[in-house]
Symmetry: C2
Subunit: 344 residues, 2 copies
């Protein structure tokens, strides 16, 4: 690896001038610029990132945390049940790359007790900021992040501070819209399967479902409610329970597409047709929603805007020194083949 000293020698200037020329934020004569850039190109010079950040330069690294089941690691993100967040991660990466940032996936021990050391680990790596996905509210690690003043953007979580803000979908409105869709089709006995309680978006969606039921004067029926864990398998079991307890249900609202896929299987095994016998809805509109049998009626989240908005907000924190206002992103009802008027 060539160093700035070698580039300086070849260009006949000082190391300081090399640094100024390549960083772009200082005035350099046109002739000097030309010589330095030529020398850098010849030697294939790339500044050492460790040295750069050690001497006060920007680190150009964003840490991404994903946060579920009391663990804070990418391994969570790669779990099938969190498939949706992959699309968010993709747009985070695209946004970060466009701004010249690398992504760091910290491999710190996920012990909740060591929230302080987690944050210190991020500092030790000189990350510019963090994007934290799906943090349960009140988790002490959020506090540690806020106290440390590390610029942070929370996705699908709500936390604010001088250097912290959040981005999330209109979960309540989306769930309300899809439930209303079922009600308008004529459904009254609508079962719902939710994700984990600690997840804020799960709670928001449940409130949306309830609001739609209340608006139609359909009384609350706890027997039609099951809580699951966002997984296909968990929803499959929950649906089996519901079908055993309440064979009169005519529709199932699942709070994610992956859960809806589990519901479809449970209905299939009970010999029930979708949508003729039972309607099913999902949430997220992952790509597989269109390939489910039947294709899923669902609520689309704008993953581009979620990830891109998170990066944009973080860059604003970094540049401006303080966090922009939180963002709520609109959702969209997508009607496909898994919903129809009730027959029973």
């Amino acid at each position: 690896m060539a160093t700035s000293a070698e580039v300086a020698r070849l260009a006949g200037v000082s190391r300081a001038t090399v640094s100024r020329t390549l960083s772009g934020n200082a005035r350099v004569s046109a002739e000097t610029r030309r010589r330095v850039e030529a020398a850098a190109a010849t030697l294939g010079y790339v500044p050492d990132v460790a040295a750069q950040s050690l001497s006060g330069g920007p680190s150009r690294t964003i840490a991404v945390g994903f946060f579920a089941d009391d663990t804070w690691a990418l391994s969570q993100l790669t779990k099938p049940k969190h498939y949706f967040y992959l699309n968010v991660l993709r747009s985070i990466e695209a946004g970060a790359a466009a701004a010249g940032y690398d992504l760091l996936l910290p491999a710190r021990p996920p012990d909740p007790e060591t929230s302080g050391s987690y944050v210190r680990g991020l500092r030790a790596r000189r990350v510019a900021g963090t994007i934290m996905v799906a943090c349960p509210p009140g988790d002490r690690r959020i506090q540690a992040l806020l106290e440390a003043g590390l610029p942070s953007v929370f996705v699908d979580a709500v936390a604010t501070g001088p250097c912290a803000t959040w981005v999330a979908s209109e979960n309540r409105e989306g769930a309300q819209a899809v439930t209303r869709h079922l009600i308008e089709l004529g459904h009254r006995r609508i079962a719902r399967i939710t994700g984990t309680e600690t997840d804020p978006s799960g709670g928001e969606r449940l409130r949306g479902i309830r609001a739609a039921l209340a608006a139609a004067a359909i009384p609350e029926d706890p027997g039609l409610y099951r809580r699951s864990d966002w997984s296909t398998e968990g929803a499959y079991h929950a649906a089996n329970e519901l079908l055993a307890a309440r064979p009169d249900l005519t529709a199932v609202v699942a709070e994610s597409d992956m859960m809806a896929i589990g519901v479809l299987r449970a209905l299939h095994e009970h010999g029930l047709r979708v949508p003729e016998d039972v309607s099913v809805t999902g949430f997220d509109d992952i790509d597989l929603a269109a390939y489910a049998l039947p294709s899923l009626t669902t609520v689309r989240q704008d993953t581009e805007a979620m990830g891109g908005g998170a990066v944009k907000a973080l860059l604003e924190c970094l540049d401006g020194g303080h966090a922009p206002a939180p963002v709520r992103l609109p959702t969209e009802l997508v009607v496909r083949r898994s919903t129809a008027p009730p027959a029973r």
Copy 2:
């Protein structure tokens, strides 16, 4: 952030002693060790990674590249059609975390012409080594990596060097086994839909399919072959083409589960039942394979062993200075509900 100087002051020793104590690879008196560790704990001291690597210490960072469609970025990995590799990434992360390594997802411009700068970017970040997933053979970026001597492990790709090795499944054997399964059920007109040509595992699987057909003396029939791109959508279209051109087919071998899901939809839309009218097989055994309707007969790849093996091989490169031998991992035929004897 506390520095080693502050820890040294509090412990009443020199910075050198702090470094020696905490790095663990030097003799220190028990009393000194106790004082230094107490001081470090009190101050919440975490060594600055940039300074560490600048002064010759290990960087404790592994770069992960994913490589498809001529792009080299995580964004590829998060594409639905590469869903399978998520499980590999998960085991890479677990292995790296266990060894105390963070994962870096470099956000370099994915221009194939700049393979040199890609590698220099990794060096500039002082990554200890790289794990590259699904690189097409002969890509110049592989060459750049080998020439730079950066310790590298290739997953689902074949490249070796003094500091480079690879890990892959027994793709040929797996594809041969699932095709043989269909033949033993009585199928003769077996269509196959493969992934991209440049992908080595795609070619290996195709060879396995052909070997099984040849062993049963079933002549090669180009009309029953379509190449796709690993995506659900692409396989859906390929299956539609096959059904239009060759309505006499009785089975479809898809080279991935995600493609098989697209095939299931195409058959469904043609009013064909699976497995009564047509049998379908996948490859990978992703979690969704069991939740497809019907559940998929497929070939299981050991993602734990792939990711874990890649990390293990890389650590051996790092410690031993040269790469261990390549690894082929056994696959396993998983028979579910999407295959049956042909009726037509």
